[in-house]
């Protein structure tokens, strides 16, 4: 879509076109049509966080998926009153896509480590899109499935090459 006002000024793009550009390059949306992607870009909202702000909280179903647009955030697991930092997510990461499709309690907390902005999609908005284009969830589930399979292959490789017994119990997640 040619943007009448924005062609000369890249910083002055509407949030909608910026979102659309990001989604076009995302594996989760690789199967969906442009019309669907536009709706996604249209219905998303942005949220900003200061360092230390929780983006989502462990044990809560916040019904959202997140794309980190800028900044960084750490994934934290709270167990027996202790915080374990699992890893840090940088810009361009997706989190919580499954939450769009089904009630799902987040198993970890995500805490901003710098000034962070996320694009947020809600389950409710996703449901509206699925109402219009019923094959959307299926296409996204396919992408998720592939991602799980890829992750599993990586684990299997690690298990074979390093005989890392610690991960034995984790194997088989792609068979759910």
């Amino acid at each position: 879509m040619n943007s009448l006002m924005d062609t000369t000024d890249a910083d002055n793009k509407s949030e909608f076109s910026a979102n659309l550009n990001i989604f076009r390059q995302t594996e989760f949306f690789s199967g969906v049509s442009m019309d669907v992607m536009k709706l996604f870009a249209f219905l998303c909202k942005r949220q900003s966080y200061k360092p230390g702000d929780a983006i989502f909280l462990q044990d809560e179903d916040d019904q959202c998926a997140y794309y980190i647009l800028s900044g960084a955030a750490k994934l934290v697991l709270k167990k027996d009153e202790k915080d374990y930092e699992i890893r840090e997510y940088k810009a361009e990461s997706y989190l919580g896509v499954l939450s769009l499709m089904a009630p799902m309690v987040k198993q970890f907390s995500l805490v901003a480590t710098t000034d962070t902005t996320c694009i947020v999609m809600t389950r409710n908005a996703f449901a509206k899109i699925a109402d219009q284009f019923p094959d959307t969830p299926l296409k996204i589930i396919r992408a998720i499935g592939q991602r799980i399979a890829t992750a599993e292959r990586k684990c299997v490789k690690e298990f074979e090459s390093e005989k890392n017994e610690d991960i034995r119990n984790l194997l088989g997640i792609s068979l759910i």
């Binding site: 879509m1 943007s3 009448l4 006002m5 709706l39 909202k45 949220q47 044990d59 509206k128």
Partner: protein, 841 residues
């Protein structure tokens, strides 16, 4: 074991179509018959007058007779027309009354059909049945007496008159009708048959089209054009053949009908002519015969049409009623007693719930809950915990065993008994269009009647409403709705209070929130306000500066031109219209899709048309109406809210420049038309929240937003304005299906409405699943602290960390209770419950 208290009551779905004809319409139908008989009598008069005009007046050259007969003729025609109008009115009245009655009765029936039915019935089917399918049967009922009676009697009257006039010719005139009576239904059957074939073939064709469009990749990739073309061509040709036959039969009926009708005069001419020449028939009689032939055609046509309506009507009626012919297993209310007031004990004894396919959802389940006790049902999904709760709530019918509520068998209780003693909150509760208050009162009103909605003596007090809002946790949400209200003129009395609160708020919290809020500062652009609001930067005093009137305000339009704003705004409007139409062009419009664009759902078609027309035009080529529409759009655009377009720095600068110029102009030429934003004045276009802030929240940081809310609540408490705000908030409209509420808010509202009713037994079926942790824990603590001992609670629970306080926990697996006891007992047992609580790692 059902009580046989009702007298012979035939459910609407088992009524015959003909039973509607007299039901409740007896007087109208009798009146109709009387009017019809008069009409028919009057219809014969013109025939007689024709004869007399020719035989007496013309033959004897008597002007006075001519005038007299012509007068009578005219009178008869006018009277017949008037009576026909009255007949039609009565007929319509009967039709509509019966259709409405069928709809009402069927709707009442449908609401009582057991839940199972709706799992396989799409809402569309119900809608269609109630809206469309009953129209033709209704029409039939309206016609059922009038049409056959008037037409048959007319035919007979004509026949009688003609036979009296001349027996031979009379018989000849009607000789053809028996033949038609035989041929036309025969043809009609063929039409019906081919019509069915045509429908089937059309369906095949459309699924073929759907198939090739969805598989177009494969077709093009394989170059399989010929294969697909051949398939398609064959179906089209088949359809063509069927359509030709169908159309031919339809025409055949018309042609044969016409042919016979036209054959009539031929017979009259040849036989009547012969008789007249021989002097055995007067010329007047011949004219009467000829004109009767013509007049016979109308009743005949109407009879044939009636025959078709009857056929279609019967098919529709019995199909529709048959579809909903599901036995209803509960009685609404007992006629001979008031609903029981039962104590809240629940006793379940060897209850089994088996589906028609023989799947046991519950298998021999037994348990006891004493009044005021709290029982949690846990287990994996599909274990039967919800089914058990719904059986106790009488929404499912257990197939064997016993379940009692306060000692009475649940399956034998009426709906009124259940409503009186039980409250159910389901996992995805349904919220109806209306205000929070109306929804909060839903269960209460259903129980105590509609008189108790607002002012009646039995209405709950505001304190009671506030209390259940607090218990359910909806209080803060309602407060928020109240704060987000744009005041109506009739609530003016709180304006000074709010301005006072604004001052306090600025003193107490002004600094703390400064970085998160865009204050109404003359030098600052408000990204969360519309461009019009940014330019005017005040509240309109005269109507012509109201947002929806700006496009008719020449002063304002001239100003836009002079401030060099018209062109850039038009460009912006065009961009917004283009983008919105592009994104939303192929979808069913839903309110949610319009949150990020200034176009309203009801305007979408209009803007779609504008976009189509101006697509390849430049701004100077579009007409005034389109210009205004685009300008209007741009003026309603608020960059913080509508993410569909962006404003450049240059544009923002231009708008701010414009703001000052506008103020100057108003002062010069139209002083007093706008009251500019001032710290000591209420801004009517803004919400109460923004009025207190004297600004608009700009941060998208949830933590910061939460902080501002907390400050606001602290302020309201300090100013003793909390309850008033709740009252305002309760007028918030929840939207269709409660769409303006989040999933969590809907659940909280459903819990609050059950609390308000305060039933002996509460059943919560995963009623807090959409709530965040804190809210769940809060409600749980309310349940165990404030409701224990007061209402019996049976809760299906999916999270185990909140079941500690329950008196009993039943663990279900594959429809059976495999463990039951207190939390500590079950944990000590290290069985299923322990496993589920700690996972298998």
């Amino acid at each position: 074991m059902k009580t046989k208290t009702e007298k012979k009551f035939i459910p609407v779905v088992n009524r015959t179509l003909s039973s509607w004809i007299m039901d409740g319409n007896l007087k109208l139908q009798i009146l109709l018959v009387v009017i019809i008989l008069i009409t028919v009598a009057i219809r014969v008069v013109p025939l007689e007058m024709q004869q007399r005009i020719v035989n007496e007046a013309i033959n004897l050259r008597k002007i006075d007779l001519l005038v007299l007969y012509c007068g009578i003729y005219l009178l008869a025609v006018v009277a017949a027309s008037l009576l026909k109008l009255i007949i039609n009115l009565i007929q319509t009245r009967i039709s509509e009354k019966v259709t409405a009655e069928m709809r009402k009765q069927l709707y009442h029936h449908i609401l009582n059909i057991p839940l199972d039915f709706f799992r396989t019935t799409p809402p569309g089917t119900v809608v269609n049945s109630l809206l469309n399918e009953l129209n033709i049967p209704g029409n039939y009922v309206g016609m059922a007496i009038a049409v056959p009676l008037i037409n048959v009697v007319t035919l007979l009257a004509f026949a009688g008159y003609l036979i009296v006039l001349n027996p031979l010719l009379g018989v000849v005139s009607f000789a053809l009708y028996p033949i038609m009576l035989y041929i036309i239904p025969m043809l009609q059957r063929r039409v019906n048959r081919d019509n069915k074939k045509r429908l089937n073939a059309s369906r095949t064709l459309s699924s073929k089209i759907v198939e090739s469009v969805s598989g177009i990749h494969e077709v093009q990739a394989n170059g399989a054009f010929e294969i697909e073309n051949n398939k398609f061509d064959r179906i089209v040709e088949n359809l063509m053949g069927i359509r030709i036959k169908w159309t031919l039969y339809k025409y055949a009926i018309k042609i044969i009908s016409n042919f016979f009708v036209n054959l009539g005069p031929f017979l009259i001419f040849i036989i009547g002519g012969y008789l007249a020449i021989n002097g055995r028939l007067g010329l007047g009689a011949l004219v009467a015969f000829l004109s009767a032939q013509e007049k016979l055609y109308d009743p005949w046509k109407e009879l044939i049409e009636f025959y078709q309506v009857y056929q279609d009507g019967s098919i529709n009626y019995y199909k529709t009623m048959g579809y909903f012919d599901v036995p209803i297993d509960t009685v609404l209310a007992a006629k001979d007693r008031a609903p029981y007031e039962l104590e809240g004990s629940v006793h379940v004894d060897h209850v089994t719930l088996e589906t028609t396919d023989g799947i046991r959802l519950l298998d021999n389940v037994s348990l006891d809950v004493a009044p005021g006790e709290q029982l949690a049902l846990v287990g994996f999904s599909g274990s039967g915990k919800s089914s058990l709760a719904l059986c106790i709530a009488q929404l499912y019918r257990y197939t064997s065993g016993h379940a009692t509520l306060g000692g009475k068998e649940i399956s034998e209780l009426t709906k009124a008994d259940i409503t009186q003693n039980m409250g159910l909150v389901s996992q995805s509760p349904f919220i109806f269009e209306g205000t929070i208050r109306e929804n909060l009162m839903y269960s209460y009103t259903a129980l105590y009647g509609e008189i108790c909605t607002l002012e009646g003596e039995c209405a709950p007090e505001l304190d009671g409403l506030v209390q259940v809002l607090q218990q359910s946790g909806l209080f803060v949400d309602v407060l928020r709705f109240g704060l987000n209200t744009i005041l109506q003129v009739d609530e003016e009395e709180i304006v000074p209070v709010i301005i006072d609160m604004r001052k306090t708020f600025q003193q107490d919290y002004g600094e703390a929130i400064a970085e998160w809020v865009e204050f109404f500062d003359e030098k600052q652009f408000l990204s969360y306000a519309s461009i019009a609001e940014n330019i005017i930067f005040g509240a309109p005093v005269t109507d012509d500066f109201k947002n929806d009137r700006l496009m008719e305000n020449q002063f304002f339009l001239n100003f836009l031109d002079d401030a060099d704003l018209t062109r850039p705004l038009l460009t912006l409007g065009k961009e917004i219209a283009y983008q919105t139409v592009d994104i939303l062009k192929n979808i069913t419009l839903d309110r949610m899709f319009f949150e990020q664009t200034p176009i309203k759902p009801e305007e979408f078609d209009e803007y779609q048309e504008i976009v189509r027309v101006i697509k390849n035009k430049n701004l100077h080529q579009i007409n005034q109406k389109q210009t205004r529409a685009l300008l209007d759009l741009a003026l309603r655009f608020s960059p913080g809210k509508h993410r569909i377009a962006a404003l450049s720095e240059f544009m923002i600068h231009l708008i701010l420049e414009g703001r000052f110029m506008f103020k100057e102009r108003i002062k010069q030429k139209n002083d007093g038309a706008v009251s500019f934003f001032r710290n000591d004045q209420y801004i009517h276009s803004q919400t109460i929240f923004n009025n207190i802030l004297f600004g608009i929240v700009k941060t998208t940081n949830p933590a910061a937003q939460e902080k501002i809310n907390q400050f606001m609540i602290a302020l309201l408490i300090g100013e003793d304005f909390l309850e008033r705000m709740i009252e305002i908030g309760m007028n918030f409209n929840v939207g269709t299906k409660g769409n303006n509420l989040s999933g969590g808010q809907r659940q909280k509202l459903a819990i609050a409405r059950t609390f308000l009713k305060s039933p002996a037994v509460m059943i919560l079926d995963e009623a807090t699943s959409a709530l965040d942790n804190n809210s769940q824990k809060r409600i749980q603590s309310v349940l165990s602290r404030q409701w224990k001992g007061k209402s019996t609670l049976i809760a299906v629970v999916h999270r185990l960390d909140i079941v500690k306080d329950y008196d009993k926990i039943a663990f279900l697996k594959a429809g059976k209770i495999v463990e039951m006891g207190t939390y500590d007992e079950l944990m000590a047992k290290k069985g299923y419950f322990y496993e589920l609580a700690y996972g298998h790692n």
